[in-house]
Amino acid sequence: MARARASASAGVVSAAVPVAVAIGVFGIVYGAAAGPVLGTPMTVVSSLIVFSGVAQFTMVALVAAGATPVAVLGAVATLALRHLPLGAVLQPVLTDGRGRRALIAPFLLDETTGLALTTDARAERTLAVSGGLAYAGWVGGTIIGLAGGTYASFEPLAAALFPVLFVGLAALTARTQSDAARAALAGVGSAILLITWPAADALGVIAVAVVVSCVVRAA
């Protein structure tokens, strides 16, 4: 039993480390981009307390464009809606009470949700371990970016890691032919949506996935 648990934990770490490294590279990009807009202290604090690449990049872009605080909050609130489907798909595999779930909730990311659904360890433990590593990567990357760190040689690899990771997570969560058909349909549908309407962004593709899950019951 102990050996199986240790093996599962090692599996979580080995899957989470490349993800954390890629997140760290994007943290470098964020630090370099946000520093001139927010200043060094606020850039570090933003990564420490927000820990959301999508929300932080959006916030910096809006602030740099002179947007009002209401516009910034509206955009961030809209982006935060993406967490609801992540919580919904994790619900069947969570065993801890609400209090302990609330403690690990800051680590609820697309990537950690996928790892929690596909690794052998308990979902809560996977979220905590992979989320902790991702957090360290994000904050560390932000500080390196602020210090003038270079990411040019790693940026293409980091950019490629996320689609690869999500392809792997889609494959591992597709347990039946119907799941695979829904995944293919959602992937193609999302690509078409993004090519024809790039502003659809994350919420648009999540809507595609939800619609496909609602409409395609069996294939």
């Binding site: 933003s46 690899l157 890691l161 689609p163 999500f166 494959a171 799941d179 829904r182 090519i195 899950s213």
Partner: protein, 97 residues
């Protein structure tokens, strides 16, 4: 940008995560069935999002990485193998183009 605005941004982001993970009521009936069907399409959609990027542009190394990951995913059910195949495809494409 003020610290108070940043704190509200953090509260919205972290609060939505807490709501999703700890406060969402237990799903039942058709909604539970949809949530059960959701993971594979959700990750496939996120793959499409990360392939196209925020500007709708696709690079050859990313396409090669995704193609190699897809081929590996058809053969092996291991995330590490799929990651390795994808990164290998990306490196090879970067060297060729």
């Amino acid at each position: 940008m003020s610290l108070s605005l940043l704190i509200v941004v953090a509260a919205i982001t972290i609060g939505s995560r807490v709501a999703a993970l700890a406060m969402l009521p237990p799903l039942r009936g058709p909604v539970a069935a949809i949530a059960q069907r959701l993971p594979a399409p959700l990750f496939a959609s996120l793959a499409a999002l990360s392939i196209t990027g925020s500007g709708g542009t696709v690079t050859r190394p990313i396409l090669a990485a995704t193609g190699c990951a897809l081929v590996a995913a058809l053969r092996w059910r291991s995330l590490l193998v799929i990651l390795a195949a994808g990164m290998g495809g990306c490196l090879a494409a970067s060297l060729i183009w």
